[in-house]
């Protein structure tokens, strides 16, 4: 078991003929992910690495029965691509694209909920269930199969922590990169709940950062509804207020969203919070 994806996931790549989309499709296929095909409007009928390319998601889903979609198209087209996937009946949409306007995401999120589709991201590295499948850009070498669930707002920080765990012989059930944007489809709480209910996951590593209050909500959930131990790290203790630290969502605004307040809440909820991410494997051993 795992959460969200396993070896049975059938994946379509939106933007499969693009540079990024194509590059990562190949890596996903090498990893063993079942890529059923892809969509690039205007390139329907072509083939990519032996997989069919369609003009529309509707045609792609009808033909392949895929249930997962990876959105790799540029920001100006990404909101439309997510809605197209939701409308075509995809159950799980992973959107890697950064720089989508928040106003668009709010509409997209409402539409996904209406269509019963779960969105991961945007501005995220995707998902990986080590040994089974990966959907997104998480490098294959950062994790081995195991029983730690990892949920994170960030990309390379996650790779760093995953890799440190692997070097100490600690494996991972699923990595979920939820993304660093202000409005995202799946939150820490959603993923914690899935890990809590997943028999293969024994402990959880949560990697948060400044901005918003998703870590505070996570702390409430840990306190009230979780039995599994959680180790956490919150990036941005040294970040000045009012400045956006790379991720669109990483900003301490009007005194809200600071690392200190999040660390305090997580500690009060019983999570073990590391001051240095290299301590995380030790907290999970």
């Amino acid at each position: 078991m795992s959460i969200l994806i396993d070896s049975g996931a059938k994946v379509l790549v939106q933007g499969i003929t693009g540079r990024q989309g194509g590059f990562h499709t190949k890596l996903m296929m090498e990893y063993g992910t079942d890529v059923a095909g892809g969509v690039t409007p205007g390139k329907g009928g072509e083939w990519f690495e032996g997989k069919p390319v369609f003009d529309t998601m509707r045609a792609a889903v009808e033909t392949t029965n895929a249930d997962v979609s990876l959105v790799t198209v540029p920001a100006r087209f990404a909101a439309d691509a997510v809605m197209e996937a939701a409308d075509a009946g995809i159950r799980l949409i992973i959107c890697l694209t950064e720089h989508i306007p928040v106003a668009d995401m709010m509409k997209v999120l409402a539409f996904c909920r209406r269509r019963g589709a779960r969105l991961i991201g945007p501005n995220c590295p995707g998902l990986m269930t080590p040994g089974q499948a990966k959907v997104g850009i998480i490098p294959a070498m950062v994790a081995e199969p195991g029983n730690i669930g990892v949920v994170s707002k960030s990309g390379t920080l996650t790779y760093e922590v995953g890799f440190a765990m692997k070097n100490q012989g600690i494996g991972i059930s699923t990595i979920v990169g939820i993304g660093g944007d202000p409005v995202i489809g799946t939150t820490f709480v959603d993923v914690l709940e899935m890990f809590e209910n997943d028999p293969e996951t024994e402990k959880v590593a949560l990697l948060g950062e400044i901005g918003g209050s998703a870590e505070i909500a996570a702390a409430d959930f840990i306190k009230n509804a979780m039995t599994k131990p959680v180790a956490a790290f919150v990036a941005g203790r040294s970040a000045p207020p009012g400045k956006r630290m790379g991720h669109a969502g990483a900003i301490v605004d009007g005194g809200e969203g600071s690392a200190e307040e999040k660390i305090q809440a997580l500690e009060a909820a019983g999570a073990r919070v590391a001051a240095n991410p290299e301590e995380i494997p030790g907290l999970l051993a």
């Binding site: 890596l27 920001a75 100006r76 720089h99 306007p101 928040v102 106003a103 995401m105 709010m106 509409k107 999120l109 409402a110 539409f111 850009i137 998480i138 490098p139 070498m141 950062v142 994170s152 960030s154 990309g155 390379t156 920080l157 996650t158 790779y159 760093e160 890799f163 660093g180 202000p182 409005v183 939150t187 990697l207 950062e209 400044i210 918003g212 209050s213 998703a214 909500a217 790290f233 990036a235 941005g236 203790r237 040294s238 970040a239 000045p240 400045k243 956006r244 630290m245 790379g246 991720h247 669109a248 969502g249 990483a250 009007g254 809200e256 690392a259 001051a275 240095n276 991410p277 290299e278």
Partner: protein
């Protein structure tokens, strides 16, 4: 992207929200002219994009044009929280009977626009929220439906607005929502929205922040954007497509990925804070870390004279660390920094990458294995150099 008060209010006016008939002056003489035209009492307001202008002496009430000239002369060129005042807004004085707070913002958690309104306007919303959270009415808007009439009635009634003002308030709120929507604002705030002695509504102060990710479809706002308070190094980085934020520490940080970049900053502070040592910047070099990118980023980091050491922290996932190491050495040879550089590579081919760094035998470059070691050595290097 933050707008000035005057830009925010002029934008409100485009959406049918009544604002004072003021104008912007860049000289004391202009301020005198504007005040003479307006006649009577005027308010001279510093146009800087920080809070607390009033407390800093940047907002003054002048009884006549002569006094307006004097105040403008004082305020122009003044520094408020490190920002130089280049412009003042000269507004006619308003006859204030009641101050209302009204704002629309993106509620991140709910993923919906949120309207906040209160009869206790004028003060800082964070302060009001701390002291009297019950005095703020909050109403979400369904993003697909938009603002509905019943919601405006609810807000007006729940906040205790006199019935005679409901209609005008509805016009202001509908205008503000349209403004928020059309401008891709992440915040559109009127504080205070004033009820005058004659019972009219007037947006006396305004603040609008535009979503940076939506600037591609806001050409008029971008055109009008004032970049005079942007740091030189931040401008260079923006033009090079690198995310860079200048901080006031001594350790320059070059990292791939925003989360890891923040973490690297945190580590320098964790080990250096006791000695007053910390990060000089946030810098995310992005995915590839090619020699050209590294050289551009290195120049930007070194343009800050406070930098006494540069710490590289690169996680090679799909990028290989040996390629990154080559890139760093090429950039080094181009830029030739005098300060020590500590390089920590992790991930794919990290050992090969470190070998390349060590084999180059450049006196001020060394490799570190862990982030902890790298941060501690960077702190030690700053202490030694001091």
């Amino acid at each position: 992207m933050k707008l000035h008060e005057y830009q925010s209010k002029f934008l409100f006016r485009d959406y049918g929200i009544p604002i004072p008939q003021g104008k912007v002056a860049t000289t004391a003489e202009d301020a005198f002219e504007i005040a003479s035209e307006l006649g009577g009492l005027v308010v001279v307001k510093a146009q800087v994009r920080v809070g607390g202008r009033g407390k800093a002496g940047g907002v003054k009430v002048a009884r006549d044009a002569e006094e307006a000239r004097r105040y403008a002369d004082q305020i122009l060129g003044m520094e408020i929280k490190g920002l130089r005042v280049e412009k003042v807004l000269v507004d006619p004085g308003a006859d204030i009977k009641q101050e209302i707070y009204l704002a629309i913002t993106n509620d991140r958690g709910a993923g919906m626009p949120l309207i906040m309104a209160s009869m206790e306007g004028g003060m800082d919303i964070e302060e009001l929220n701390r002291e009297r959270p019950g005095a703020i009415i909050r109403e979400h808007v369904e993003p697909i439906l938009g603002l509905q009439n019943y919601q405006m009635t609810y807000i007006a009634s729940a906040m205790g607005l006199p019935r005679a003002r409901w209609r005008d308030f509805g016009t202001v709120l509908a205008g503000l929502y349209e403004c928020y929507l059309q401008s891709d604002a992440e915040l559109a705030e009127i504080n205070p929205l004033v009820i005058t002695g004659e019972g009219a509504l007037l947006a006396v102060d305004g603040k609008v922040i535009i979503d940076d990710n939506a600037l591609f479809r806001q050409p008029a706002l971008v055109e009008d954007h004032d970049t005079s308070d942007e740091q030189e190094s931040e401008r260079l980085a923006r033009e090079a497509g690198i995310t860079y934020i200048k901080l006031d520490g001594q350790i320059g940080c070059m990292v791939n990925g925003a989360g890891l970049a923040m973490t690297t900053m945190d580590m320098t502070k964790l080990y250096g804070d006791d000695d007053g040592i910390g990060p000089a910047n946030f810098l995310d070099i992005g995915g590839g870390a090619t020699p050209e990118q590294v050289a551009a980023a290195l120049r930007i980091i070194l343009s800050d004279a406070n930098v006494k050491c540069v710490l590289f922290n690169i996680f090679g996932g799909i990028t290989r660390c040996d390629e990154v190491a080559d890139g760093i050495l090429t950039a080094y040879n181009e830029v030739k920094p005098a300060v020590p550089m500590i390089i920590r590579l992790q991930g794919t081919n990290a050992a090969e990458g470190n070998q390349i760094i060590d084999a180059a035998q450049i006196p001020n470059i060394s490799s570190a294995e862990t982030l902890t070691e790298a941060a501690q050595r960077a702190v030690a290097a700053v202490k030694q150099g001091a």
